[in-house]
Symmetry: C2
């Protein structure tokens, strides 16, 4: 499967990105300006979005009833060039009274280790820490996800 | 420097992404729907946008007068899970009568090998081929960029 995009400079470091069918998005180096996004923000969107879709899909196949689903991602950039993310913290938040911890853990594992295309392209020097929070009427509980020993 | 984002599921696999100051973007697994983007499209935007900004910035510091600047990116996904990009073809297109090839080559090299934060996070198994096209009144010429031997 092939995906093509094109970026055109608009002015200064303001760039218009488009895909073949005409959908467009604005990028900018300075996040203050308008509704544009920086490349590094889009990188986190890409990673968080990819794994979010996996986890929702897997949980629904396991008949887990999700009332609310969120993923937060926080990246810490290096001080020196290239200023890539040294650490990315991913947290999945799932609300649902019948949600089983084991089902969530399994869905995250399948995404992180098998399905997530974006995750699979990221170098090991970018440390990705994963937690998940399950929210029920009885309260909420946060868990740390531990990668399988064979992973990376 | 820390960057935080949050993704909320809207419906099915439709997801709203937001950054701390309220800017939002829609993601979707199926690109047909509205103006949403897929995570894999955003990944290419992120990579192409990051290197585009480097190259523009470096060329302008070298007093190269850019009339038009574009970057095209084309990714080929694997057939099997995880369906990451096995190959990404990046092409920079620069129009300007006074543009020097050596300046462009150098700007691309500095971005690919030193400055581009997104590029620096991508595993070697993702083959990134780079070309650049310089367009002047006299016509246009396409060149292949060869990474330095020490690179990666």
């Amino acid at each position: 499967m092939q995906i093509s995009i094109k970026l055109k400079r608009d002015e200064a470091l303001r760039i218009k990105a488009e895909v073949a069918d005409g959908r467009t998005l604005e990028l900018n180096s300075a996040k203050e300006m308008g509704h544009a996004f920086t490349p590094m923000e889009l990188f986190l969107f890409s990673l968080a979005g990819c794994t979010a879709m996996d986890v929702i899909w897997i949980l629904e196949r396991q008949r887990q009833k999700i009332e609310k689903f969120e993923v937060c991602a926080q990246g810490n950039r290096r001080e020196d060039d290239p200023k890539y993310y040294e650490v990315i913290a991913l947290e999945y938040k799932i609300r649902g009274d019948q949600i089983r911890k084991e089902a969530v853990e399994r869905a995250i594992r399948l995404s992180q280790e098998k399905y997530c295309s974006v995750r699979a392209m990221i170098k090991d020097k970018v440390k990705i820490s994963v937690t998940y929070r399950i929210i029920t009427q009885g309260g909420e509980q946060t868990y740390s996800y531990l990668p399988s020993p064979r992973d990376h």
